[in-house]
């Protein structure tokens, strides 16, 4: 068992830190947040400088963590351009990989993933968007809600129903994934405004009104879409856990700085104990969340994913991010409220929600554990 990152990953951390220090200035972060503006320029630079090296998932993981530690909104914006790409990698055919996945990994195109609908996000199998075969293509009708990169993506991977389920209990059957080009007639988007946090990221509602999608844009087999999406979430949740680590670690950094600068000391000259214990608690949680996340990642990156540990890491890192930003804010008082910790506090809450709410993650953990034990 080796708890050290390898040299390549360590270099990625340094590279990400340098990039964030250079480009994630408070001015840019504050403006993107206030104006709910996607940081197009910085994202372009990050692509040019190949900040994300998709050939090495460990590098991707630690890069997310490090960028988010500096600023969550900008960090996530920079690292979300290929959101969904693993679906191509595992289930796409060569032509789809060539045409759609490679340009995304090369930083030339942006991808989005449309699963959630207005009627529900947790209950994925209950989606209502339909794709009906019409000659050599499918006609898509319906809508998707809260889609990241919604306004800026070139393509979307969209989950839609292609056949009716055999019974209400088997709703997860008959769903398929399609590649939708954002320039297709009948496709439109509405930007969503007024998010609590991660306001630099772009979020939109997608509308499909008789959107014609060529047959060859279906991913994998018809009817297997639910399985593909769940497999993808078992990958992406590890990266969400990395977002949580970044936010929690960022809060810890700020609390430690505060304690050096303003922390009250008692007669002994030591920091007052309540502050000391809070720092210890956050630091311990960050470390525990990191160990869980890296364990989940090491299973996955060896192609032996462990969904139980993955969901544990996503749930626990999200909870740690929310916990740490709240405790840091309470202890730093006005010094927290008036600095970038204020953003961290708002940003952290999304992690409890996206890519599987905390409740859903906990249900997965138990159900998978029981299944593994044959209960």
């Amino acid at each position: 068992m080796d708890f050290e990152l390898n040299d390549e990953a360590k270099e990625a951390v340094v590279k990400a830190r340098e990039f964030a220090n250079k480009y994630f200035t408070e001015e840019v972060a504050e403006r993107s947040d206030r104006e709910e503006q996607f940081p197009t320029d910085i994202v372009a630079i990050s692509k040019r400088e190949k900040i994300l090296d998709f050939s090495n998932p460990w590098k991707v993981l630690v890069t997310i963590e490090e960028l988010v530690r500096k600023d969550p909104g900008l960090g996530i914006s920079v690292t979300i351009s290929a959101f969904g790409a693993e679906i191509f990698m595992f289930f796409g055919n060569d032509a789809q990989k060539e045409k759609y996945m490679n340009p995304v990994f090369a930083g030339q195109k942006t991808l989005g993933l449309g699963v959630t609908e207005a009627g529900g996000g947790s209950d994925v199998a209950n989606i209502k968007t339909e794709a009906k075969l019409d000659g050599d293509s499918y006609l898509l009708n319906g809508g998707k809600m809260f889609i990241s990169n919604g306004q800026i993506a070139d393509y979307f991977l969209v989950l839609a129903r292609t056949t009716q389920p055999p019974s209400p209990e088997k709703k997860h059957r008959g769903l398929s994934v399609f590649i939708v080009d954002s320039k297709t007639p009948g496709f439109s988007v509405n930007k969503l405004h007024g998010k609590l946090g991660v306001r630099a990221t772009n979020t939109a509602e997608l509308i499909f009104n008789n959107v014609r999608v060529p047959k060859e844009n279906m991913i994998g087999e018809e009817g297997k879409g639910f399985y593909y999406i769940m497999t993808f979430f078992n990958i992406s949740r590890i990266y969400v856990a990395a977002q949580g680590l970044g936010i929690a670690h960022g809060a810890l950094d700020r609390l430690v700085d505060y304690s050096k600068k303003y922390g009250e000391v008692s007669e002994t000259g030591e920091l007052k104990e309540s502050l000391q214990l809070a720092i210890a608690e956050i630091a311990t949680r960050v470390e525990a969340a990191r160990n869980l996340t890296y364990k989940a990642a090491s299973y996955l990156f060896k192609f032996t994913p462990n969904p139980v540990v993955t969901s544990m890491s996503k749930y626990y890192a999200a909870d740690t991010a929310v916990f740490s930003t709240r405790r840091a804010m309470e202890l730093m008082s006005i010094h927290g409220l008036t600095t970038d910790l204020e953003r961290f506090f708002r940003d952290a809450k999304i992690l409890d929600i996206w890519e599987g709410t905390t409740e859903v993650e906990k249900l997965i953990i138990t159900r998978m554990m029981l299944k593994e034990e044959g209960a």
Binding site: D123, N126, L196, S333, I334, F345, T358
Partner: protein, 345 residues
Amino acid sequence: MEEEYEILENTVRDFNTKYVDNNSLKLENDTMGKDFVKMLAGQGFFSMTSQAEGGAGTDIKALSIVLENLAKSAPAVAVKTLLSNSFSTAVKEQDVLGAVADGSKSGTVTFSDLLVGKGQNGNLVLEKGRVSGEKEFVVGSDSDFIITLVDSGELVLLKSGFKTGKKHKKLGFRSIGFSSIVVDTEDFTILSKDGRKTMERMYEDLSIPVAAISLGMSEGVSQKALDYAKVRTAFGHYLKDFQPLAFDLSSLVAEMEILKRYFRDLLSSSPSQKEAMFLKHKSLTLAKDISRTSLQIHGGYGYLEDFGIEKFYRDSMALSVLFHSEEKDMEKLSGLVFESKAGFV
């Protein structure tokens, strides 16, 4: 509840229905507007602790009931009302009090003087009949009158000769000014020589009103979550049917109801400082917990401002930072619990 307070509660409820509920996002994030502020003042809400003619005199009970009910719909409106009332307890000048009471002018107090360490919120020097310098972290910095501490210890009322300086980030109550103030004025009066003590008394008097706002927020946000959980479905069930959501929210509502009962008990007696601090401490924590759970129940919609949930998440934290200090309040509370100095190492 006594009849007059029931009437007051209904008055605020009507006011919310007419002027706040449909407008709460703007009142929270944007601006309250002069007309709205005048309307609030017209209800007598700004002069509930005022000794001005026409002011209701010190009536923390009435004020708390008003704040609790305003906070259910728009916490920023409650905080605006709190600021006006906290200002008027310390001032005797009738023209100033009258102007704040009728909403034509506004007033605030720089409680950050007590919440951060000495000198950490800037410096104001009183010298040769002038007050000058810059003070940071002023909630209500867009006010016409400001009560603040100067470095030499006096509590002064600034009447003109100051302007807003560096704007601060606004986690909550975005329609209320929050910035530094830059001061250079001869137009002030000294309210107290031992200013810190006087301000500490004013701050202590806020314990129950701040708790009232916290409880109002908890009531407002949890009601939204209860309503939502009854209509939203997932996996073929209403959200209310799922144990994790139903148990969490019910447990927090139980806590809220217990605190409300304690709150009402305190209002109908003469609460001790310790009791008032118990209530404030627990109510602030509850508001943060219940806002998180209520937001979570709303899933992605909770994260968008349109649903009127995320503002409670921000405001509950902002309130607990701007009118409370974990370190200082807990040291004080520990002293009261142990009946001797405690919790300082």
